[in-house]
Symmetry: C2
Subunit: 155 residues, 2 copies
Amino acid sequence: MKIHKGHHGNCCCGKIRGFGRRITPARHAVLDALSTRGEHLTAEDVFKASSRRYPNIGLATVYRTLELFTKLGMVSKFDTGDDKARYEFADGPHAKGHHHHLVCTSCRRIVDYTDFIKEEMDLLHKTEEGLSKKYGFKINSHVMQFYGLCRDCAR
Amino acid sequence: MKIHKGHHGNCCCGKIRGFGRRITPARHAVLDALSTRGEHLTAEDVFKASSRRYPNIGLATVYRTLELFTKLGMVSKFDTGDDKARYEFADGPHAKGHHHHLVCTSCRRIVDYTDFIKEEMDLLHKTEEGLSKKYGFKINSHVMQFYGLCRDCAR
DNA sequence: CATATAATTGAGAATAATTCTCAATTATGT
DNA sequence: ACATAATTGAGAATTATTCTCAATTATATG
């Protein structure tokens, strides 16, 4: 089986194995899809892309795999107000690829932005700590995104 | 028809009428449900609560009404990772009731917090302005919430 | 106040994303 | 190579939400 290439390297297999889960062609195909097809993919997107490399893959498997990867922290799942979950590789909060989303509520375009990320992360971190202490939560993740109308839709 | 009481007062009818929409018992029941049954209600919750005052109300009407109120900015719709939309009265970003959410991914408990709200709002405001300018978006709303395990679920 | 008209409604069917079931297949430790 | 538990594909099942449509009703107007 080919080693997974791309900017997410090969740490993935280790992570999967570490959880007593197996490396399979289906999971490989999903990894490939995620790293080559870009950000904020729907399950359907991932399914189509995975099918190219591994035509037999089933949609249910894609869902199961995305769920697994999300649980392992390799993938982040979020939604943008339509009724489809979105998935993308999770660049941990401090990696360079880390970004938030700006969503057009009319045409559904999604812009990744990294502006203000430093300030945002600082505040998020501070808030997490405060809330953790005050409410006894062990905070694992956050969502922060903006909704509006893009230039084209606004006029 | 009785005037809607509660901390959201009677501005609602004006807002509804202002959009050329009508005041109906069904809409009243939904308003009541929202103001007496608290925060982060599912459509089903609202349906049940509304049914008490107005037994004939249909679920579809509840959905339609919540959608309308959301469009009018009176209600905010959000989700917390299960597959149900949540609704609550929208305390505008600068009202005293304004809060964000802390969600337990295990038991689904939702904590409203207002800590750090000032800093959060300042940053959100600044970010909105910056993104607005840079990407040409007219930003209308944002989501900011934290996910984790509550004290009980963490052990 | 009565009337006309367009908005609204309830009920149930339809939709669509996601999850479940189950028998067949396959990755992995030995 | 084998045994075994994990994984899979296919399609059925689930579930929140939206749609359809005929019947009802809020409201402006005379």
